[in-house]
Structure formats: structure tokens, C-alpha cells
Symmetry: C2
Subunit: 497 residues, 2 copies
């Protein structure tokens, strides 16, 4: 585990002042010298911190005048601090059968031409990842250690890779042994194994709302019902609402498991504060509730330090922690993992009966990359790029989308969650944009209860080229066309009528 | 599709004469010259055919006297032609809940030291496969086409590989389009997807008996019940017995699907004759019965030509054909496939919700190897090695196992199925052998109904070293120790007592 550089910590704490509205859009920032004195850091650290905030689109330098909080943030502020407006007005729902598969498959796996600009997909661009370094390692393993991957193997996965995961788990607030992990075919398999370990067809599984549509697809394919728990776009899952359900208030059904993303939830980018995680872990232990924690975005935080895994507060093994390298290191190799806690043996068996084992070659390459690095450096660069992209994407949205559009303030990751003003319809927007070869993810994908009709998810996990800006601006324009036209001021012709 | 060399066809037809007892153990073979004249082939073709039969352990040359059918075959004959004795005496069972997982996991996935000699595992040895050629291709793809595998992809798999499968399907008696395939993480995932596409918890699935324990594990993990259909060790599934079940005679339950291995079934090595496949396909269509066909051993036939897939007789898409490269080309890369017929779309969706997609890099390497070969040559060599190994392994068994041991006559593949004489107990044998670092697969693994207690499976898909012979001979010795000791003839001391 490597401590964040000082300037990042400094930038993050200043960012907090901006986020919370303590320093307002348009206001002048304190001078670099003053920062240096008040925070007891060198001037160059202060400069680096301001440059980082500038790169993130939060502040701007004005010649001869110093740094200012960007005025455009005002529009963002409204959405970021007016969190309620972004929260779908949902109480814990009744359990609903899930029926998102057909829509998702139509949207995401339809044969897509390379001409389609995929704004909605949360697939990060390969240009953000150290592909060349990993490929070099792959080549070396193939030449030097073919006996290590050619043979048929069953079992939970490469010991080398599991040891590296054990070491990395310190960053998650844990210290897991290598034998606590099972390597999977991406996190999707990990989530499937976890759900199957604790729930059977007809059972009710609690999920956040809005939530990753993959969660909903898993529930649908296994014949499970979804119970939506409200989720704040900043602080994530409403633990109180979950507690009421677990205490079976107002005829709430028995919940077989909770499937959630406490760190940088998809699509909102919310991260649960430590106290909420602690409370959730206590609740799980009290009610013997299996919790499936998807932590695939945890390393992509924009704050000062990595948010801990919910599992860090779990003393009794109720939390099954799932992760993947897909979003942080290698989109193509499809290697994920699960540390199943008290369900580990059951998961190991289900992995065997589902796909025997995971291809070894990619595991060996990732293990070597983690050993030889520079993984931490890569992650820092990636986070910086994503933070900058987030600010740029928001700026494009503010300039081009209808007035009243709300934008999430993600705490990391690479997606924004928007809510369009009435009477916009995101599914319609999807259709007209798709006709122009631009693909977005409409909000209805993210709720089994059929909510989120005015929401959409926009990804920024690629290089933000002029073509990106053009495509996103065009979506904004198409959204504006859904707004009622204000009648032009009457003149000339109207006289006498 | 490449025709078999003439000498292979010739050897195969002669083999049939031996197998059927037309030429008996100990009998002299007709001379090479006579074969050449009667079959209108060159003398060198006749020589090659006899050498192949010799390599397979069926005939032997005696100096100055010509070729003879090996006497040791007499013992094998008894088992091979006395097929009934090898058939578990089972009528179609009542549906039974499956409970093999814990035993399988104990046997097959327990931490095993490299010192353990794995006689029971059907994992082929890497020395039988063109690992070097595939690794060269892997290296080339990594250097030259990184953009083809680095990116995150969803969807049914590499078009290149699916096109190659389409071409190969001619060998299976089919002509499948590339879009009919979904690439999976080995055939285990393919089988899971197929079962999940047509059956839900509580349903009854018909399986052969004895059957591959992986089938039983899938059923157990999905909460399905198994209905055992008798299976002849030569001709496979008893279609008449299945028909009686489908016609709901004697209160037979509704069957949601049939899971079977028509070509070179595991563990018996049985292959269904064409007529039986045709009848089964008609039956499936009549009763709208989804059939999951596992064809992973089809290319490893010992006969003159590849047995066709059951799917070749399926005109209405009821047969989901599953296969893999694990047993024929690359044990380590874990690439399988499924051609789901009328269930294709459902399977495509289940693949997506289970693991999104299969790692692309191994797919590209296999596709290139199939294009550039020499795949057919490799398969011929592999089949020849396996046929020779089968004969050698049988000879070791005949020399070392208790009198009365029955041995299967596999039609291909790399396992033998034994039935020990009473009162042997294969599970006990497993335990004592395991204590000596030799691992076998006891028969109880292969039946959910708890049958096959005197059976075991022995694999020969590795290089048959002296260590192999020693291990297998030792298992025979341990089995002999399970037999009641015949009291030595009374002499001396017994007088007067």
C-alpha cells in the first residue's frame, strides 16, 4: 500500500471545500503562498495541487488574478448539492420480477458497427491501460513458462495472483489470505456465484436503485425478485431503509441477500461513508444477511484515499467481496475474483460446476504485472485522467443539455448519471441518438421497477476527443428538442388576431 | 474434412473382425500378401495397417510365423463381447436428487501434491498436444494484433473461431453457420448454459448411467433431479428405455431435458450407432424434448471415421451441441462452444448474464491454429497414440487386476471403465490407493443412484511411462487384496486335525 502524494491529499481536501459549497463558483481561491503557509506544505506542492484541481475542471487560472472556482460549476453545484433532485423518489419497493434482459441485449449486444459512438457503455477504452506492458509479460510467460498454463487445471485459480490480491487487500482495509480468493471469469461470474451461493429461484434480493443493470440481469436469469432500496447519489445505499425491510416492517418480505456496490456505485458514482458501511455490516451480522459487495470501481476514487471495502467492517464473513481487473488494468483478459467469506467453500464448488476453472495464462500475466508494476503509478494516472474527463464531460453537458438537467457528482469511476427535465424521455432519446450512430444508456435499464425514465448514463472512460464532445453535444441537442418550444414572442402577424 | 488414410480404414475393418470375435485370440492372421490381394491394396498399405493393429495391442508378430491375434485379448474379449456384464443392471430409475458434489470435490479438487499419480483424472497430458505451435501463434497475436484482444468485448465470441467451427462441423455431419455458435469458458460452461436454458430447479433431467460426474454436478448445483437411462457400454443410450419414459409409462415423470454423450461416452467409451441417433432425434422432435449433446470426445474415435453428431439427425433444432478444445487441442486455454439450435438466443443471453464473454486471446490463437494447422494431422497422431495407450493399459490391467475384472472396449477417448469382481469395493480401493499417492476415479462418482460400487475409471491420456505401469499394476494388486484368500491346499500340518 502506497500513501497518496501530499499534493493529492491537499487537492482532495480543497476539492471538498468546493464540493460542499464552502468556496463558491466564481470565488477567488486563496493564493498559492497562503495555501503553502496555512497547510505547512511547500510552494511546489501547493502548485501541484492547484494544477490537479485545474485539470479536474474545478478551478481556473485568470491572468494576473490568480485562481478562481469555475463559474460553470454553479450549474453542477445545483445538481451536486441538490442531491434529492437526483434521487428517484422511491421507497423500498415491493419485490418485482425483473425484466430488463431483452432491453439490455438489444441495447448492448446488438451487432454494432465501429461507426457507432458508444457514450453509454461503461467499457473503458484500452488506451487508458498499460496494455503494452501486460502484453510483454504475456509474451515472456508464453516463451519461458509454458508448462505453467498449458496443462488442464481445476481449482480456485493461480496462487501467484491470489497472493497479489491478498497483498492488495491491505488497500481495501483488509488482510485477506490467498486461500480466501477464487479467481473467476470476470466479476460477472463472481457475482453469479455469490448470488447462487445464497439464493434460489423465487427468493427476493435487495438491490440499490438505481443499480447496475448487470445485477438485474443476474436476478432475472436466476428467477429471483428484486427489492429496490433507495440510494442517495452521494452517500449510496439508505441503510435505514434496508433495516426497516429486514425488520419486516409493513409486511416486508424475507430478503435472501443484498447485492450492492458500496464504493462508487454504478450508475450514480455514490460511495457510502465509513459510518454507513459499519452500520450495514452490523445489520448484516444481526440479521444473518448475506451481502454481495461489488467493488470493481473502488480503486478509481477521486478523493484523497481509497474507500475501504464494506467487508472491512464484516467480522463474521457475511460479505462476499467481488472484484475484477476489467475496469482497472485489463479490459480484455476477463479476470475477476471473489472472497466469499463464510460462503467460500460453496462458491469454490459452484465455480467448479460452472466452468471448472479460469484460464491460467491471463492470471499469470496479471500476477506478474502486480508484482513488477508499476500498478500504483498506473492507477494514479488513470484516476487523474478520469477525474479530468469527468469535469470535461460535465462541462460539455452543462453547455449543451436542456436547462434543468441534473448531473451526478461521482466520487470516482467513469460514468455520469443525468436526469433530464420534464417532459424528456431517455428511451426516446436513446432511439433518436441511435439513429444517428450515437449510443447512450437510458435510465430504465437501471431499475427493475421501471423508474428512471428521464435518466441516462454517460461514460467518460475513454480519450475525450473532439468526436466525443461532438457526439455528447449532439445528444444534448436531441434532448433539447424534446423540450416544449417556447412560443416566439408575438409580432407582426399576430396583430389583429 | 480429410479422408482417413487407406491403411487406417483397412486396419479399422480388420479390427472389427477381431472385436466381433470373427478372428479369435490366438488365431493366425491372414498373410500380408493375402490381405493385399483380397482388399486390392498395396502391400505397403497392408503392412501399415498391421503395424497399426500391432501398435494398438491387438495383434503380434511371431518370428517366422506371421501375425497372430494376441492371446491376452481373450480376457478382454470376455468383457468386450460380454457387454451385459459391464452394464449396471438398472432400469430407468426414479428421479433422484443428486449428491455427488462433496465426493467429487474431495476426490478431484483436494490439494494434490505433484507426487500423486492421477490415474483417474480424464485430464489429458500436455505432451499429447501441439502446445509449442499454439504458443507460437499466441506470441504472434500478442505482438501483431494486440488491438484484437485488449478491448472489452461482449457477445458470442470471436467470429474467426466460430467460422472455423462452422467449417469443422462438416466433419460432424453438419454444416453450421458461424452465427449459430456461442464460445464458452470450456464445455462445462456450455453444458451449464444449455441446462439452464431449458430446465429450472426441481425439474427432472434424463442422463445416461453411468455418466460423467460433471453432468451430475451440474444437476446438483442447479437443484435438478436425475433420471437414469440405461446405457450399453458399446452402443450407448438405450433409446427404447428413454422412449418409455417419454411416453410416461408406469408413472414416469415429465422430463425437461436429456443430457447425453452419444459419441465416446464418458466413462464407458460407448458410441451410439447411426440408427440409434436417428431414432433419438425423431423421439426428441416428437416429444419436443431438448437434448444436450456433449461431443467433446467425438474427434478421438478409434474407428475408420468420425462418428456423426446426434445433431446431424436433428431437423428441428432440439439438440444443443456442446464441444471443447480441452480434450483435443489445448487443455489449458479453456475454450468451449455451444450451437444451441432453437435455444440459441436464450443461451446467448445466459452467456452474457453469466460471464459477459469469453477471453478473446485464446480464441484467436485456436482460430489461427485451425486455419494454419496441421490440426487434422495432430488429431490422427493423437488418435493413434490413444489407441495404442488403450491397448497397453488394458494389457496392464489384464496382467495385474483380479480374475473376473471386466474392461470396457472404448470406441475412442482416453478412459477405460472397469468392473471389479465381487466382493471388491472401488471406493475402498480409492482410499487405499490414495494413501499410496495413486488417485483413481471410483464408480460411485458416475451415478447419482449410488450404483457402480465395483466400477472404476482409469485414464490413459498421458505418456504411458514405467511409472504409469507401476501405479496401475499397484492398483490391481490392491484390488486383488480385496478378494477373499483361497485357503492354501492342506498339507502336513492339517493332518489329524
Amino acid at each position: 500500500m502506497q500513501a497518496a502524494p501530499l499534493y493529492e491529499t491537499l487537492a482532495s481536501s480543497i476539492r471538498h471545500l468546493i464540493d460542499s459549497g464552502t468556496i463558491k463558483p466564481g470565488e477567488r481561491m486563496v493564493s498559492l503562498r497562503e495555501v503553502s503557509q496555512r497547510r505547512s506544505v511547500s510552494l511546489s506542492t501547493a502548485v501541484q495541487a492547484y494544477r490537479m484541481l485545474e485539470a479536474q475542471g474545478l478551478i481556473e487560472a485568470r491572468p494576473q488574478s490568480g485562481y478562481f472556482v469555475r463559474r460553470e460549476l454553479w450549474a453542477m453545484r445545483k445538481s451536486a448539492t441538490g442531491a434529492k433532485s437526483l434521487r428517484p423518489n422511491l421507497k423500498p419497493s415491493k419485490p418485482v420480477s425483473v425484466d430488463v434482459n431483452s432491453l439490455v441485449m438489444e441495447l448492448l449486444t446488438a451487432p454494432s458497427s465501429p461507426d457507432v459512438f458508444a457514450l453509454g457503455s461503461a467499457s473503458p477504452g484500452p488506451e487508458l491501460f498499460p496494455g503494452a506492458a501486460i502484453n510483454r509479460i504475456l509474451g515472456q510467460i508464453i516463451r519461458r513458462r509454458p508448462h505453467d498454463f498449458e496443462r488442464y487445471r481445476s481449482g480456485p485459480g493461480s496462487d501467484d495472483l491470489r497472493r497479489e490480491l491478498g497483498r492488495r487487500s491491505l488497500d481495501w482495509g483488509l488482510s485477506l489470505g490467498y486461500e480466501e480468493f477464487v479467481i473467476t471469469n470476470g466479476s460477472m461470474e463472481a457475482l453469479n456465484l455469490a448470488v447462487r451461493a445464497v439464493a434460489k429461484a423465487g427468493d427476493v434480493v435487495a438491490v440499490e436503485t438505481p443499480t447496475y443493470f448487470g445485477f438485474l440481469q443476474i436476478l432475472e436469469s436466476l428467477g429471483l425478485k428484486a427489492l429496490h432500496i433507495p440510494c442517495d447519489p452521494q452517500t449510496g445505499l439508505d441503510v435505514g431503509a434496508l433495516e426497516a425491510v429486514l425488520e419486516r416492517k409493513q409486511g416486508a418480505p424475507r430478503v435472501a441477500a443484498l447485492l450492492c456496490c458500496p464504493n462508487i456505485s454504478n450508475p450514480t458514482g455514490a460511495t457510502m461513508p465509513d459510518e454507513a458501511k459499519a452500520r450495514l455490516a452490523r445489520l448484516a451480522a444481526k440479521h444473518q444477511l448475506p451481502v454481495i459487495e461489488d467493488d470493481i470501481y473502488g480503486d478509481l476514487y477521486f478523493g484523497a484515499r481509497r474507500p475501504k471495502a464494506l467487508r472491512a467492517w464484516d467480522t463474521e464473513g457475511w460479505v462476499m467481496l467481488c472484484g475484477s481487473f476489467t475496469k482497472i488494468l485489463s479490459p480484455g483478459l476477463r479476470v475477476g475474483w471473489i472472497a466469499g467469506g463464510r460462503f467460500h467453500e460453496r462458491i469454490r464448488l459452484l465455480k467448479y460446476t460452472s466452468s471448472i476453472s479460469t484460464t491460467v495464462l491471463p492470471q499469470l500475466a496479471l500476477a506478474e504485472y502486480l508484482q513488477r508494476g508499476p500498478f500504483d503509478k498506473h492507477l494514479r494516472t488513470l484516476r487523474r485522467t478520469l477525474a479530468t474527463n469527468a469535469a470535461q464531460a460535465r462541462a460539455i453537458i452543462i453547455r449543451n443539455f436542456p436547462e434543468g438537467t441534473q448531473i451526478s457528482q461521482p466520487q470516482g469511476g467513469f460514468v455520469l448519471w443525468l436526469e433530464l427535465p420534464k417532459p424528456c424521455d431517455a428511451l426516446e432519446l436513446y432511439k433518436v441518438a441511435r439513429a444517428e450512430n450515437i449510443s447512450i444508456a437510458p435510465g430504465t435499464l437501471f431499475s427493475a421497477a421501471g423508474e428512471c425514465r428521464r435518466n441516462l448514463r454517460v461514460a467518460y472512460g475513454i480519450r475525450l476527443t473532439p468526436a466525443y464532445e461532438k457526439a455528447l453535444a449532439r445528444v444534448g441537442e436531441l434532448a433539447r428538442q424534446q423540450m416544449p418550444r417556447v412560443a416566439p414572442p408575438t409580432r407582426g402577424l399576430a396583430v389583429g388576431r
